[in-house]
């Protein structure tokens, strides 16, 4: 089998170097924070309550996001309709929105003065209350349903189309023989990703949670660093997050069962199954509901942003260019890291690939600050640090997309490549890259868009002359300029989507010929 032979095919050093970089950023920064710590290393009752709330909301959010994503991805996998490509691209949007923008978009629909309550008021129904546990979960589903859908869609598209034909001609149940095994392989990973994202939620949980009941570990870290300067406590809380991450990774890798469809002819053809009238109507309904849920808040963001668009100050456009540059550099770096890591396998790799999701960006930023300070002025390296951290933070998503595809290529064509003695760089160039255009395009698009929208640690390092677009938007909000901030948000969303589309599309050009 191709699996065992891969360490011989690729040299070890690139993956070791990439893993070392990730571990340095995750654990090295944590140690730096601990080193500077003066405060106590104990947790109060309030912190335990925060841990409980954090875990419960993350589990519910993950189960709902992925559970709802299954019918949506299934419907998208077997339907072709006008605007499908655009819809799939727009699916990337909620995930990359700056949190406050997404919250305001959601409130325009579900809030006190939102569209839903306008309808319920008109009908004399009791009004919808968004603030509370339900609001936190709603927002997390809004953020993560599209992401989970894309992951699952990837799974569906990876089932060779010949298998569907075969199942059809044998009159075999498609769900049981094809879709269920695929879901067993993909769902645990998707659950894990959403769980970890929600684990470090801060602004969503607080703003929509309605008060201190909805305190997350991340907020406790924020308070410890910003107000109490209790770095010891921040480090301990960060260790709690990382431990939860490790446990979740262990659970997910135990649950996931690799599929084994074997090789197809490596091209897609229209699906033959699921063409009954009932199935068509059901899929149509699912897609419509998902579109309404995801796109109406987006439309509200666009509407709010349009009026101030022409009067945006030049500095916002400068920040936009800076953000694009940061996003492109981060994307290149993250792909490099992902391929370096993907040349090796194992649970340790999965853990390293997921750790960045569970880190508190405030702890990483503070730790990095402590480390570099004294060698170089933090403001001088603000953009470089942003590129590095954005690359590492999007690494888990890129790996999640690429690893199964690389696995598949190895299973399908590994022996052929072995017989041709394709090793190292040549294997990457002639075996992987041509086969992986679609996932690489998707991964690059996601990484670029994430890096655009991520506020990250730039606030800790930046001066006024190095602001990125999200930072510029927050600064406008802080100066009462809510309309300009809404327009900056629109620019941010549009540019993020554009980058996402360019890469994603680039990956698909010629792929379906």
């Amino acid at each position: 089998m191709a699996r065992g032979s891969r360490p011989l095919i690729f040299p070890k050093w690139p993956s070791v170097a990439a893993a070392a970089l990730v571990l340095f950023l995750v654990l090295g920064t944590l140690l730096a924070v601990l080193w500077r710590a003066e405060g106590s290393l104990s947790l109060a009752a309030a912190d335990l309550a925060a841990i409980r709330f954090t875990i419960s909301q993350a589990i519910v959010s993950a189960v709902l996001s992925v559970g709802l994503a299954i019918p949506v991805a299934r419907a998208l996998a077997r339907r072709q309709f006008r605007g499908r490509a655009l819809f799939v691209t727009l699916l990337g949007a909620p995930f990359i929105l700056p949190v406050i923008v997404a919250i305001i978009g959601l409130l325009a629909v579900f809030g006190r003065g939102g569209l839903v309550n306008a309808v319920t008021d008109a009908l004399g129904l009791p009004s919808l209350q968004i603030y509370g546990f339900q609001g936190v979960v709603l927002a997390h589903v809004f953020f993560n349903l599209p992401l989970a859908t894309r992951f699952l869609l990837q799974g569906w598209l990876s089932i060779p189309s010949e298998r569907f034909r075969l199942a059809e001609s044998l009159n075999a149940p498609v769900f049981r023989v094809l879709e269920w095994p695929m879901l067993r392989a993909v769902v645990p990973g998707a659950l894990l990703a959403v769980f970890l994202i929600c684990l470090t939620s801060f602004a969503v949980a607080l703003t929509l949670g309605g008060g201190p009941r909805a305190t997350t570990v991340e907020l406790a870290i924020y308070q410890a660093i910003r107000f109490d300067f209790d770095l010891g406590k921040a480090a301990v809380l960060s260790i709690v997050q990382l431990t939860l991450c490790a446990a979740a990774v262990l659970a997910a890798t135990t649950l996931a069962i690799p599929e084994g469809f074997g090789a197809g002819l490596d091209r897609s053809t229209p699906r033959w199954d699921g063409q009954t009238r009932a199935a068509r109507i059901r899929d149509g309904l699912v897609i419509t509901l998902a579109a309404l849920f995801l796109l109406v808040p987006l439309a509200m963001i666009v509407l709010r942003g349009l009026p101030g668009l022409t009067s945006l100050p030049p500095s916002v456009w400068e920040a936009a260019i800076r953000s694009i540059a940061v996003a492109l550099c981060a994307t290149a770096l993250t792909l490099l890291l992902a391929f370096a890591l993907a040349t090796q396998q194992g649970r340790a790799l999965t853990l390293i690939g997921n750790l960045p999701l569970a880190t508190s960006s405030l702890v990483v930023g503070t730790g990095l600050f402590v480390i570099v300070y004294g060698f170089v002025s933090p403001t001088r390296i603000a953009l470089g640090v942003t590129v590095l951290l954005n690359a590492v933070m999007s690494l888990p998503f890129v790996l999640r997309i690429l690893l199964p595809e690389i696995e598949r290529v190895e299973t399908d064509f590994g022996r052929l490549a072995d017989s041709l003695r394709l090793t190292g760089w040549r294997r990457l160039r002639w075996l992987y890259l041509p086969r992986l255009r679609r996932p690489v395009g998707f991964a690059a698009g996601l990484s670029a868009a994430l890096s655009m929208g991520d506020l990250g640690v730039i606030a800790l390092f930046a001066t006024d002359r190095q602001e990125t677009l999200p930072l510029a938007m927050y600064r406008l909000m802080g100066a009462y300029r809510m309309e300009a901030a809404a327009s900056a948000a629109l620019v941010l969303v549009a540019l993020s989507l554009l980058l996402f589309w360019v890469f994603d599309r680039g990956g698909r050009v010629d792929a379906d010929a």
Binding site: A46, Y131, G211, R226, I324, Y373, T463, R465
Partner: protein, 365 residues
């Protein structure tokens, strides 16, 4: 935006697409740039920049001021203050935006005595006690005729503006007379979390200063009025403008922003009988500053008319010293509380932990 800053030019960022600030180059370099081919252009460009940077650093002292983000935004006081001070100081004033007030404080603590900052501008009375404790700041020699509701005698921190915390709402919304009336009403409010925001901490101290041991009961009664608690001021104010609540915790001067900048007279601040807790924003010089004299010069400039007259319509707070020309028109309409509440910074800091726990317990029910 302000670009007359030669020192910044040596921070080359080729990936930016706008690598050099063309307009601020010497004319000779600019001409060469236009005339020559790509490669030589690039070389001369870099050489010119290095030259500009080295001559600049040899002649012009740089004063580094750490402040909060909104101060340095295009519409904040930063750009105008920078221009006004550089006119007279023969120096290069560089603002470094470091998040909000609390982030500013933690950054200074992280950097300690090795900090590049000469001045920290934007701490407030809720952070002053912690700032004093660090021992990083040096006494100032500034005297001014302050226009503050309290006598200012602090030897380390110089106030530059101030405001009263207040709930801001639409004028048509019936205003409650105090916290009890608010708690008894159906009115909804958005507040900020005292664990992550200075206005949130201000509200906490306001209730504590007004009600003492009864503060917990007030918070329990307010629980059903609070729509949500946000991490910072911006989120709360944004939610209020989106119609998510009847009122938001902000400042009595917030309606002046809407009146002056948006010609919108529909916002007002609720005046409470208990009185209003104050936020006083301050700056201080770092003991480790290499530019001690220049830093002193800046602190004196800060309480001068040139600085103070910029504050009202950029930071939307009361200036610490009354401007010669008086307050701008819209500020005349700002309703002023009859009673100002203020706790000495050490006193407020001593209350904090217990008050936060009280708040958390009351609202977590």
């Amino acid at each position: 935006m302000h670009h007359a800053n030669p020192l910044n030019l040596n921070r080359l960022e080729p990936a930016e697409g706008r690598p050099f600030e063309f307009s601020s180059m010497p004319p000779s370099v600019r001409r060469m740039k236009e005339d020559n081919g790509m490669k030589t252009k690039h070389l001369i460009h870099v050489a010119g920049l290095c030259l500009a940077a080295s001559t600049a650093s040899a002649q012009t002292p740089v004063l580094t001021v750490y402040t909060y983000d909104s101060f340095v935004s295009d519409w904040g006081p930063g750009p105008a203050v920078e221009a006004a001070f550089e006119e007279t100081c023969g120096c290069d004033l560089q603002f470094v935006g470091a998040g909000d007030g609390a982030a500013l404080m933690s950054r200074i603590r992280l950097e300690g005595s090795a900090t590049e900052a000469d001045i920290v501008l934007g701490l407030d009375n809720s952070l002053m006690a912690a700032a004093s404790e660090t021992g990083l700041f040096a006494p100032h020699g500034v005297t001014a005729d302050y226009d503050l509701p309290v006598a200012w005698t602090d030897e380390t921190f110089v106030p530059f503006d101030w405001g009263y915390f207040a709930f801001v709402s639409d004028s048509e919304t019936p205003a409650p007379a105090d916290f009890r009336a608010l708690a008894d009403s159906d009115l909804s409010i958005v507040i900020q979390d005292p664990r992550s925001s200075t206005p949130g901490l201000g509200l906490l101290t306001w209730v504590k200063a007004s009600y003492g041991d009864e503060a917990a009961a007030i918070w329990e009664a307010l629980a059903d009025n609070i729509v949500t608690v946000t991490p910072g001021w911006s989120e709360a104010y944004g939610l209020f403008l989106e119609g998510e609540a009847d009122a938001v915790l902000s400042y009595t001067t917030s309606p002046a922003y809407h009146l002056i900048a948006e010609e919108d007279a529909s916002k007002t601040a609720w005046i409470f009988d208990e009185g209003h807790y104050m936020q006083i924003e301050v700056a201080a010089k770092l003991a480790a500053s290499d530019n001690s004299d220049l830093a002193d010069e800046f602190l004196s400039f800060m309480v001068s008319d040139a600085f103070q007259s910029i504050i009202p319509t950029t930071n939307w707070m009361y200036p610490a010293v009354a401007p010669d020309a008086g307050l701008p028109d819209g500020f005349g309409e700002v309703v002023a509380p009859e009673k100002a509440l203020f706790l000495a910074p050490e006193e407020a800091a001593a209350l904090r932990d217990a008050a936060i726990e009280e708040w958390r317990a009351a609202l977590a029910r």
